[in-house]
Amino acid sequence: MASSEMKSLVIDPVMDKNPVTVQSLGICSALAVTTQVAPSLVMAIAVTVVIACSNAVISSIRNLIPSKIRIIVQLVVVATMVILVDQVLKAYAYNVSKSLSVFVGLIITNCIVMGRLEAFAMHQPVGKSFLDGIASGIGYGWVIVLVGFCRELLGSGKVLGVQVVPDALYDIGYTNNGLMVLAPGAFLLLGTIIWIQRTINDSLQEKE
């Protein structure tokens, strides 16, 4: 594999072909789980694992799947991975798993997972597919962790559950921003990230 190809394979899903900010996929969970950093972080890892493993599995059997039933096969693989992740979370991180509630199960419907399987793993070797899954997961992950960080900091004055806004600031009249706890707060932050990204990188803007 040429190194430039390798580089674009890893960097593109993180930046210029970011699944969330550029392709607008996986928005649902990005709004739902990002009120705090910890669930966002766990969600990011869970999604990364699911994408990477399903990508690898589907890629390894891609030549055996009849194209008419490929979606069903993909779903079975993804569902298996999601259940595995869910069980691991329940066993080792019960509290976070509880706070994520249905959203771990809903990774099955996360468009990024199916999108990468269809667009990439069905045509590429196992190693590359696995790498693509990791990169896509990181692309999704940094966005929701950033959103989660801003929402927790502004909405409850904490980061990872630890209060960082000093009491002195509250005493002189500072209050937490209630909008950040609501779903529109995530929309606004996501929109702002997209705005900044498109301003920095002109090529992402539609030509008039």
Binding site: L179, M180, L182, L188, W195
Partner: protein
Amino acid sequence: MKFLANIFDSQRKHFEKGGKLEVFYPLFEAKETFLFTTPHRTHGGAHIRDAVDSKRFMSTVIVALLPCLIFGIYNIGYQYYAAQGLQADVMNYFCIGMWKALPIILVSYAVGGTWELLFALIRKHEINEGFLVTGLLLPLIVPPNIPLWQLALAVSFGVVIGKEVFGGTGMNIFNPALTARAFLFFAFASDISGSAPWTFLGGDLVMSAKQAVAGWSGATPLAIASEAIKGSSVESLMAFAPGDYSLTNMFIGLIPGSIGETSTLACLVGALILIATGIASARIIISIFLGGAVMGLIFNSVADGSSNAMLAMPFYYHYVMGGFAFGAVFMATDPVSAANTNLGKIIYGFFIGFIAVLIRVVNPAYPEGMMLAILFMNMSAPLIDHYVVQAHIKKRLSRG
């Protein structure tokens, strides 16, 4: 005037292309066209040349806002003394009012103006005049006790997210001042709802906090109405509430509320100025009042036996409470975010009034439905216009 013009002429070379201060051309241009007519002329083509550019347009709105502003300042002082069971002369009212209103207006203009300038410099265009109005509208729709840092955040939000994201003045979907107000409402709910924020009672560094008389509540009429319980009529509740909440008094505006929106009378004066100068659409204003009346009458007809006492409230009470009149006259008529076709304006206005009363009566969590109704219809305005135009095209085509 000649003297001022000379200053501008002598300084222009510094700001034009190649000059030392080229970056600051937008700032220079803004000051110059504020004082004089613009030096730019249209090149060719049959343009109508009129003295009214958008800067004059906005200045007229400012003039129309003055009755609300002056009354609002007076009312802050009036409420200050009324809450303590005192009376004072008019000058005292105005002094207390200015003490509270002036910082709010200054912060609004300073912060908003800075953002406008920043975007004008980055995007290399002239400073848009839109903020001239937004900067005064926002102080008029916030409570007098609003913390200034929250106001500064809200102005930033209104200008950046409400307007600049979409491309600046003239491109915004939502009214920037209302966007800022909605931000305040959802972000700092405790500082903008309940009964505390609406009446200034001292407590700043200079003015020591005063004690309100016993039984004084400071609640806005809308809050009182939404808390009315079964069996009591809102009118009787209003009559017995501490403070004067009679229909006449609410019309005049001597009630707790946001700075500039308590007086329906002052809003009507503003409406006359705007309609007479052709700046606001009378269609929108009238259909908003009509929509409110229709929804109010529908509620009246189903009020019997309901636990919601506000259902039975006569519809004209909605006109004088909260920001209904102010929103109808100054917010909904913003030509950028309103519908633009004649039929569209009527539909747009009607549903603003309709939804505002609906939210007020049915959802006690949002006593002020006007803000949400206008924002919602701002969003729907392009769709309304689209269908009105399509229907018109269809009609013309079928005529053959």
